[in-house]
């Protein structure tokens, strides 16, 4: 018991980190579910890197990183929307260039600071052990907003994931709900980067939800699994990094990936021969 509970019970900062982690897990589970279902992985990754210049400016000038991230994210989304509207063919390349450009811009801006390497490390890999109460409150609000959106928009989101054409004919504007999804992902990246960093937050979006997709029959179950895996990763990651003096953020992400692959392997072992579709109809 001592090994598992005491690091949290006797250290306020560990408990705060865990609480922040829980909130972030919930947000990422929900946003991550739609990243996977709608094939938005590339855009999600681009967003995560694109917020860097915003954060860098915030650190340099002295206002909260979260606001900087919000500005950076708006810029990225604007850019992505413009690009996908103009050209269907090469939007991958264009979006890729956009986020590489933002990433380099961010590094250039941070290089003006007196604590360049340290700042950069903290932005890229997070500083979950130093999360402040204010950050936690902001995360709480953001998570609440995301949960609210997911509940309110559950029908159009489901239809959009199933078949965008059907959604449009059913009266749910694909453009509107797609943008709401992007907005959700952006908010998630903005509040989550402080825990695991912008480099790895993408992993937190994808791995728990990915594992959930393997185990679920329904979208609600997928999200529930994603939340569970996220929280489990936070707890184990923090615990392991505590006992072994490892970087907390990266350890957490490592755990999410391990969980995903364990799930993947177990699923494949259980279905050790591919089930032929005909077997499902006869008997």
């Amino acid at each position: 018991m001592d090994l598992f509970i005491t690091p949290f019970s006797s250290n306020g900062f560990m408990l705060q980190a865990f609480i922040a982690g829980i909130l972030v897990s919930i947000a990422c589970a929900i946003a991550g579910t739609f990243v996977i279902l709608r094939g938005l992985a590339f855009i999600g990754d681009a967003l995560a890197h694109g917020v860097l210049p915003g954060i860098a400016v915030a650190i340099l000038v002295g206002f909260p990183g979260i606001i900087g991230a919000a500005i950076g994210a708006s810029f990225m989304i604007g850019g992505i929307t413009l690009i996908t509207q103009r050209s269907r063919l090469s939007s991958d390349t264009a979006i890729g260039l956009l986020f590489i450009g933002m990433l380099s811009l961010g590094v250039v801006i941070v290089s003006r600071s007196n604590s360049f390497s340290g700042d950069l490390t903290r932005i890229l890999f997070g500083e979950i052990l130093g999360i402040s109460i204010q950050s936690i409150l902001i995360q709480f609000v953001a998570t609440f907003v995301i949960v609210a959106i997911a509940i309110i928009c559950r029908r159009p989101f489901l239809m959009l994931s199933f078949d965008p054409e059907q959604a449009e004919v059913a009266g749910f504007s694909v453009r509107l709900y797609h943008n709401i999804m992007l907005f959700m992902i952006a908010i998630t990246v903005i509040v989550s980067f402080q825990t695991v960093g912008t480099l790895l937050v993408f992993g937190l979006l994808i791995a728990p939800a990915g594992a959930g997709a393997l185990l679920s029959r329904r979208i609600e179950a997928m999200m529930a699994w994603a939340i569970f895996f996220g929280v489990l990763s936070m707890y184990s990651g923090l615990l392991i990094s505590y006992h072994f003096n490892l970087a907390a953020g990266a350890t957490i992400i490592l755990v999410t990936v391990v969980i995903f692959f364990i799930t993947f392997i177990i699923q494949n072992i259980r279905h050790h021969r591919p089930v032929h579709p005909r077997e499902l109809t006869h008997g």
């Binding site: 996977i36 279902l37 094939g39 309110i152 928009c153 029908r155 159009p156 489901l158 239809m159 994931s161 199933f162 078949d163 965008p164 054409e165 059907q166 449009e168 004919v169 059913a170 009266g171 749910f172 997709a213 679920s216 029959r217 329904r218 979208i219 179950a221 997928m222 089930v275 579709p277 005909r278 499902l280 109809t281």
Partner: protein, 276 residues
């Protein structure tokens, strides 16, 4: 709609057209695929669109439901521009985009057919559950309700998509190749369901390769080959001559019609099963 799901036609509009197209041009961006389409679909009637792939069938259906803008002429659906009436129109597309990562059960797919009637907020009730279940029973998949969509065979998935359309209880059904992938049993169920829909008072416009049965039970048939080749009652339109113009080669024998697609088509689905 009345309590039994029968469509009530407002007095004075009985016989008013459900779809009306005048000199309609359809296509993508600025490329016209079919020009100068003229037809009317009256309420409670069915029209089949027949032609090779790439002939404009899908384009016309998408334009009618409002997914594509028309490129010229006039098109009205229930007297309004396309896309105005979500609650009254059900659409079944030819291809499905879900990619099968989506964890969803068959019953959830069919349930989605009721969404247009309830939008974001309104709660569905027991009656909706009954309608959903009835639609699944109509297509013979009620035992698969709890199964994940991705674990179903192609034919079972297609039955599910048809059930989704049936669950809507729409005034107008817009269907693109609804029988593709269905086995003989599924096709039987589908045809019965179509008959029931017509009896309920719904209107149907369906793109199909099934000249034998489906087209035969429609009131009108339109032959398309990037232009309107012919339009009229099935027995008048489905002549060897007209089919030659549409498909390129027709081989007939023994009252059976066997249609072979040539370079006119872009390699579409296999020719319909001609048993009997």
């Amino acid at each position: 709609m009345d309590s039994q799901g029968k469509i009530v036609i407002p007095p004075g509009s009985a016989g008013a057209p459900c779809i009306q197209a005048k000199a309609l041009d359809i296509g993508y961006s600025n490329d016209v695929v079919v020009a100068d389409i003229n037809f009317e679909l009256k309420q409670g009637k069915a029209i089949a669109l027949i032609g090779t792939n790439g002939c404009g069938k899908s384009t016309l259906l998408k334009t009618i439901v409002g997914l594509l803008p028309s490129l010229g002429g006039q098109l009205s659906v229930f007297g309004m521009p396309p896309g105005s009436y979500h609650r009254r129109i059900a659409y079944l597309g030819q291809f499905h985009h879900s990619g099968f990562v989506l964890p969803i059960r068959a019953i959830d797919v069919v349930r989605m057919g009721r969404f247009p009637l309830y939008g974001l907020w309104k709660r569905m009730g027991q009656r909706d559950d009954e309608i959903v279940f009835s639609a699944m029973r109509t297509m013979g998949i009620e035992k698969l309700a709890d199964s994940p969509l991705r674990s179903l065979s192609g034919g079972q998935q297609q039955r599910t998509y048809v059930a989704q359309v049936l669950a809507h209880r729409a005034d107008l059904l817009v269907l693109d190749e609804p029988t593709s992938g269905l086995d003989a049993g599924g096709r039987e169920l589908y045809l019965q369901a179509v008959n029931n829909e017509l009896r309920r008072g719904a209107s149907i416009i369906v793109a199909t390769h099934d000249i034998q049965e489906e087209a035969a039970l429609c009131h009108q048939v339109m032959l398309l080959a990037r232009k309107v080749v012919a339009i009229g009652a099935p027995q008048d339109v489905l002549t060897p001559d007209a089919l030659l113009k549409t498909f390129g080669i027709v081989v007939t024998g023994d009252k059976r019609l066997q249609v072979i697609e040539t370079q006119h088509g872009h390699g579409g689905p296999e020719p319909p099963d001609t048993k009997i």
